[in-house]
């Protein structure tokens, strides 16, 4: 039986009168690539911040990697990885120094850090650049390194916030190769994107409109349910209904 790694029940966040996320109830399973779509202002970031233990919900419940978002936010942070389009790598540290830094932050032993560094550098074929400053790496490599660093403490879930914005079509696809490989190893991938073709690569996709989840299913089922040829059409059909302007 598939095991659940994220489970929310009527998860809600209000800012004053404004309901940013309204009674979200969904489950994410181990090893799946879960696409989290929505227009700007639909409430994606708010939902993601609650799941990462960075923002306390107003009401409802959520368990992430087996921990409660209200009481065990610190435990959640130890068990998830996070990467956004703004890389969190230190530009003036080398590749190895960045891995060592993040390994240290997540409490890996020196031995583990050494092993992990060698493994990552070999995997990414960065042997020639291991002692180069991150600022000297091409964008595509930075992105792959950033992804690997977010996995350095072997989290159960990795959250990717628009990881492929602005990169060339080949690098974008190579990045998805990494995502597939991680999911293949049993890591759950929770990803947001503005590229609708990428939503087709997900195991399941949820679409948020005005703070609520309007649709959640496999891309195949969503397309047949909405009688659409592509996920792009599904998304446009739903997002056009949005009343809330992204103000």
């Amino acid at each position: 039986m598939r095991s659940t790694v994220i489970k929310t029940e009527k998860l809600t966040k209000r800012f004053g009168d404004f309901v940013a996320a309204n009674e979200l109830s969904f489950e994410v399973y181990k090893g799946e690539i879960f696409g989290f779509l929505g227009a700007n202002g639909a409430g994606k970031t708010t939902a993601m911040r609650m799941l990462c233990g960075l923002l306390a919900p107003t009401s409802g419940s959520a368990m992430v990697a087996g921990f409660d978002v209200y009481k065990q936010a610190d435990k959640i942070k130890n068990n998830i990885g996070y990467m956004s389009q703004k890389f969190s790598l230190y530009e003036d540290l080398t590749v190895t120094e960045n891995i060592r830094f993040y390994g240290g932050i997540y409490g890996l032993t020196n031995k583990e850090i050494r092993e992990k560094s060698e493994e990552l550098i070999e995997q990414l074929q960065l042997q020639q650049s291991a002692n180069k400053l991150v600022s000297e790496l091409p964008l595509g490599w930075k992105q792959k390194l950033s992804f690997s660093v977010a996995l350095v403490h072997m989290p159960k879930i990795i959250f990717l916030d628009e990881p492929t914005s602005g990169v060339d079509p080949v690098t974008r696809r190579q990045f998805w190769d990494l995502i597939y490989a991680a999911a293949d190893k049993g890591i759950t991938v929770f990803v947001t994107t503005h590229y609708m073709d990428e939503s087709e690569y997900c195991s399941r996709v949820s679409i948020m409109v005005d703070g609520v989840i309007r649709a959640l299913d496999t891309p195949g089922n969503l397309k047949s349910h909405f009688n659409a040829a592509s996920m792009d059409e599904v998304f446009h059909g739903l997002a056009r209904e949005a009343k809330r302007k992204d103000d």
Binding site: N40, P169, Y201, G220, M231, H236, K245, D246
Partner: protein, 308 residues
């Protein structure tokens, strides 16, 4: 008359170590909607900054509206509208104050050119007393476009106006651009989203400072040199790896719910051979069909990238 011309423009950074723009020449006709398409770091912003007279080229010449970007920079600045990639309005002025400021700087008034910005500005007018820094991404974008248009420029430069914007708002933004084009304004727009390229009259594909191609989107696709196949099966990730191992494969990449595959050279019985190979790999429900390339396929082909 050409509205914008570039002749052998080059720009280096970091004491000549980084060649950001490498011998680029093209021209844009009056009233054209012209797209500069390429990933981050391709040189798009450098080209825009040279054309808007904010950066001196190391070599080559360029003109905007018939004026030279180096000698006649002051004249050019009065005739163009520029929306940089980074939001550059005054965050602590209100929506209306920003618009008034830009109108005044260009020696005009909001009333004089209201007709031009009306479509766009009405959408943010309810918030005209809000500070620009407090606007959402989509509204900042509309305000920045209004400010870039308020002096009725003859050429509009938009540097990545849709980056980070969701698919629906992106489509709306492009509809606004089509309407502006009908008013006779020449528009140069850059974007990393290749699907937007089809909305331009002509596009230049750019990578690492070099132009790969300049054409209409339709012609670009028609010139795709080989047959492109779309393939899918029950097990897509395994299929990707299997196809990349196939001896005749030139490259294979994910494209939505299909994989796009092209062969090194066309040969008789190739399709049959591939289907047999995939059956041997245990693939089930294999679908193989010829497909029309997208602009992204063309970009991949032009950059000469083989299977990863």
């Amino acid at each position: 008359m050409a509205s914008v011309t570039l002749q052998n423009i080059a720009k280096k950074y970091d004491e000549g170590k980084v060649l950001a723009v490498d011998d680029v020449s093209f021209s844009v006709e009056q009233g054209e909607l012209f797209g500069l398409i390429g990933p981050d770091g391709a040189g798009k912003s450098s080209i825009f900054r040279i054309l808007t007279t904010l950066l001196l080229p190391d070599a080559g010449t360029a003109t905007v509206d018939g004026y030279d970007v180096v000698k006649d920079y002051k004249t050019i600045r009065g005739r163009i509208g520029y929306m940089p990639g980074k939001f550059s309005l005054y965050q602590d002025l209100t929506v209306e104050e920003n618009l008034n400021f830009f109108a005044t700087v260009f020696d005009t008034t909001i009333e004089e050119n209201y007709e031009l910005i009306k479509d766009i500005y009405v959408q943010i007018e309810p918030f005209k007393d809000r500070r620009a820094g407090k606007l959402s991404g989509g509204m900042k974008q509309k305000l920045a476009l209004s400010c870039a248009l308020i002096h009725k420029p003859s050429v509009l430069f938009l540097d990545e106006p849709t980056t980070g914007v969701d698919a629906v708002s992106r489509k709306e933004f492009w509809e606004m651009l089509r309407r502006l084009k009908q008013k006779g304004i020449t528009i140069l727009v850059s974007t990393p989203y290749m699907d937007e390229a089809t909305l331009c009259d002509r596009i230049a594909l750019i990578q690492e400072g070099k132009l790969l191609s300049i054409d209409t989107p339709g012609q670009l696709v028609a010139n795709y040199p080989t047959t492109l196949y779309a393939v899918r099966s029950d097990s897509m990730y395994k299929l990707l790896n299997d196809l990349r191992m196939f001896e005749d494969t030139d490259h294979c990449f994910t494209f939505g719910d299909y994989l796009h595959l092209s062969f090194k050279s066309a040969g008789p019985g190739q399709e049959q051979k591939l289907l047999q190979y995939l059956a041997g790999k245990g693939q089930t429900n294999v679908e193989l069909k010829v497909t029309t390339p997208t602009v992204e396929d063309c970009f991949i082909k032009l950059t000469g990238t083989t299977a990863a």
